[in-house]
Structure formats: C-alpha cells, structure tokens
C-alpha cells in the first residue's frame, strides 16, 4: 500500500510548528508516532497536503511531572513511558492498565504517543477499509456522504466510535487537555474535548496542537481500573471497554466516574448509572446492578460498527463495566 504524495515539514521549535499549522490550516496534519494517521492515509481516509512532524518537539513535550497534586503528561510522551511511570502505576493504576492494553508492546507502546492516542480518529467497520473495499458503497457521513452503513436507515449522522483505550480511562479520571494555537493556550476538560460527533470527533481548531494532559491525583482511599473485551490479546482494538474511578470517605463512595469505550463517538460517560452508589458501601450485587444499568443506558448507542455481533455487544457491555467497578473499589478499599 502506497501513500499519496504530500509535503513534509519537521519544525525545530514549538513556535515554528504553530506558525506552520496556522498558515496551512486543515490541509496540514500533525504527525506524532503515526500509528493512527498513516494507516488512515494509506486507505485514503486522511488526505493531507502537508504532514508536520512533531519529532523535534519530543524533548519539550514528553515530560511526565507532578505539580500541586496534579500529574502533567506531555502530548508526545510515549505510551509505555506513561504506563510505567511510578506515579501512574501507584496513584492511577487504571491509566497504567489502559495504556498497557493498547495495541502491542513493540508498536503503539514504544512508538505511539499519549497525544496521538487522544486525538486518534473514531472508527467504524464500514469506514476503516481500503479504497477498493469502500468503492462498493456510497460515501458515508464521515466521508461527507449522506448515509450511515452501520446504523442503516433512519440514522441521520455518523455513528463511528471512539476506540482509544487512553481516552476512555482519562475521561473517567476527569482529565483536562492543554491546547496551544495562534491565539494562545486554552485548557478544557476531556468531556468537552470530545464532541460526540463521529464526523468531527475532536473539538480542536485547525491551528491547534495538543500540548499535554493534566490529571488530578486522587486522594487516599481512591481506586481506578480499566477493562476491555477484544478478539485478541494484542494488536487489537477493544470491542467494548470500561473505565472506573472511585473515591471513598469513611468507607462510603464519595465520587464515582465511569466511561464506556467502543460505544459512541466519545468515551461514553454514564453518570446516572452509577449515581445510586454514592454514599453507599456497595457490595458485589450493587456493583453488578450499576453495571447492568450502564449497559442498558449504552444500549441505544450501539450499532453494528465494530467487529463483533451487535447482540453480543449489547449483552456483554455490562461485563467489563462490572469488572472495572469491582477492581476500582477493591483498590480504593486497599484490598487489592
């Protein structure tokens, strides 16, 4: 498979990079590890006129540092380095699990970046295919067409899904992203970074660059966990995934945040499903009920867009959720 021609720039500084992007706008794309961008470019799904390599900014944007109870992770930090960072392993075990689940050790985890993982495009069985494969079908919403092959008739917009393991876990951890553009910097919660629209899943302007991610380190008595279902143990996107983050006060749940992946164009935050756990010291049955509710709330979002039977996904959605809740709670209680 060959790439179509494009120009290549490798700016030496952040200012130079931002100026180039501001000048070229949406015709230019950033290149970090390339493990999401290049397969899409080979399939003609991304057709950049210019590729702007971020490789000279690695020194500046790869640090993982702690400040005032917050962990800051540079966008170009390599996935394995974040997953193996002692603070991440100790205080954010769910994030370590999610990042270890990505692709394979010798690919995404040593080459892919956290920023690339967050900015990775949404995916669909009918979209992430070669040009020849797609030629047999009318262009879908994500290709500026007027149909969703996964959702079928009556579906009025793109139903591609976010399958980024890091995005789902960081959403449950209520992380924020820091963006830089022509007009300066801005910070926003991940909840607003993902639009929920399959056609344009990320709320970044054409001149903007993701600088990094900020996660508040949870207080003592907190736990997080990540679970996913996939066909293979490696080199495979999740068919369903779940992230949970729980904090306890005097043994009772004081905060709980959960998100499902591979369901919706953004990590699907399910606040109502877990709200009944607040103030409780939940047992296994209560967690299972919360997971069932999460599965039920996710149901309407599911269409036939990943490589697994739709009915199976509907029935299985609560399973990773229950496992993630159980492990997050055990960690918060210090029993695992």
């Amino acid at each position: 498979m060959r790439l179509a021609p494009f120009e290549y720039l490798a700016p030496e500084s952040l200012n130079e990079a931002l100026a180039a992007k501001a000048n070229l706008g949406a015709k230019a794309v950033w290149l970090a590890g390339g493990t999401d961008l290049l397969p899409r470019a080979k399939q003609g799904l991304a057709q950049p006129q210019t590729v702007i390599s971020l490789k000279h900014l690695c020194a500046e944007l790869s640090a993982v540092s702690q400040d005032d109870g917050k962990l800051q992770i540079g966008a170009l930090a390599v996935i394995a380095d974040v997953a193996n960072h002692p603070t991440v392993q100790g205080r954010l075990p769910g994030l370590s699990e999610a990042l270890h689940a990505i692709g394979a050790l010798t690919l995404q985890q040593r080459v892919g970046t956290l920023g690339g993982n967050l900015c990775a495009d949404t995916r669909c069985l009918y979209y992430n295919q070669s040009q020849e494969w797609r030629a047999g079908l009318a262009p879908c919403f994500k290709l500026a067409g007027e149909v969703c092959h996964a959702g079928g008739e009556g579906v009025e917009r793109c139903r591609s899904v976010n399958q980024s393991d890091g995005a789902v876990m960081l959403s449950a951890l209520d992380a924020r992203v820091l963006l830089a553009g022509e007009k300066g910097q801005r910070s926003l919660p991940l909840e607003d970074f993902f639009t929920g629209q399959g056609e344009t899943p990320i709320a970044m302007e054409a001149d903007e660059l993701l600088l990094g991610v900020e996660v508040a380190l949870p207080p003592d008595g907190s736990g997080s966990a990540y679970e996913r279902l996939a066909l293979r143990g490696a080199i495979d996107y999740p068919l369903a995934s779940a992230a949970a983050a729980i904090s306890l006060e005097d043994g009772a749940v004081s905060t709980v945040r959960v998100a499902l992946g591979a369901v919706f164009a953004a990590p699907l935050l399910l606040k109502d499903a877990v709200a009944p756990l607040l103030g409780q010291a939940p047992d296994e049955a209560a967690l299972a009920q919360a997971a069932q509710r999460a599965g039920r709330h996710a149901g309407p979002f599911l269409v036939d867009n990943v490589r697994a039977d739709l009915q199976w996904r509907k029935e299985m959605a609560p399973v990773p959720m229950r496992r993630a809740l159980e492990r997050a709670l055990a960690r918060a209680r210090g029993t695992s």
């Binding site: 060959r2 021609p5 290149l31 493990t35 590729v51 390599s53 010798t106 690919l107 080459v111």
Partner: protein, 162 residues
C-alpha cells in the same frame, strides 16, 4: 508532486544518503532503494510486524514510518544482525530451534527479540511472549520462537558463544 528531500542516516552501521519523496515509507526505501529486502511487507498497515526494524534502538513498523522520520538516525535491519558469516545469537537460536518455517515473519521476530535481549538480562517466558505479541506468525504456532528467544537469552547469560 512533492519535492525530493535528502535523507541522510545510518543503515546497519553504514552512512547512507539519498533523495526521497516525503510520502515514501522507511520500508519502501529499505527494500526498493537500498535493496535490503530482508524486511518484509505483510500487511502494510501496522498489524503483522513483519516490517519491524530498529530505529535508534527502538522497534518500529517500517511500513508506518516515513523514511524522513529516520533523518539523522540509526536503523538496524535483519541484514545487520550477523557479523559477516557469523550469525547473531538470536539468529543461531532460531535456526537450531526450528523457529523458522516459511521465514516471512522471521526478520521482524528477530529484531523484536534483539530489542528485548538488549533491554533485559534474563527475560522470562511472559516477557518474551509479551514482546512477540506484536508479531504474527502463520506457520510455527509461536512455541518454537519463544523457545529460541529463551535459548538465546540463556546462552548469553552463561557466556557461551553462539
């Protein structure tokens, strides 16, 4: 048409300079321009691992790496593992163990093994399997490959020559 740019890097210890197009992948440059056809293209989209080479010591899918990303870097391919007629530790172990059948996955497997052995003194079976999990083999069933890497690690620990 994108302009040609000069790519200067080191391949298997030798300085190389050539003009490439922006969209050329490292795999295309290695195989088609430098005639180093040891690195294979299985899928071309990052799934199989057959194209794996080391760039500045880290494994990379050459099919998903723009050649220009290796500017100024050091690339190691399967052709650079042996010392003349003498096979590397991993290569010798693969041959002896029967870890090679059709051989298509072997260059990628060897470089992944080389990377693991350069980072870990005595990797256990779990570490070997995790390292190789990014590589697909359609012939061997993996057991012989895992055995070969363990043998190479073992020999090195005992200070035996291959």
């Amino acid at each position: 048409m994108a302009k040609l740019q000069t790519l200067a890097f080191e391949v298997n210890g030798e300085a190389v300079e050539l003009a490439v197009r922006s969209q050329e992948t490292l795999l295309e440059v290695l195989r088609e321009r430098l005639e180093l056809t040891g690195s294979k293209e299985g899928c071309g989209e990052g799934v199989c691992g057959a194209c794996t080479v080391l760039v500045d010591g880290a494994p990379r899918r050459a099919c998903l790496t723009l050649a220009l990303e290796a500017q100024g870097g050091q690339v190691l391919t399967v052709e650079g593992l042996a010392d003349g007629a003498e096979l590397s530790l991993e290569q010798q172990a693969f041959v002896e163990t029967g870890a090679v059948q059709c051989g298509f996955c072997t260059p990628g497997m060897l470089l992944a093994s080389h990377d693991l052995l350069s980072r870990q003194e005595q990797p256990d079976e779990a570490a070997i399997r995790q390292q190789l999990s990014g590589h697909i083999c359609r012939c061997t069933g993996y057991a012989k490959i895992v055995e070969a890497v363990a043998l190479a690690a073992d020999r090195r620990a005992k200070g035996e020559a291959s």
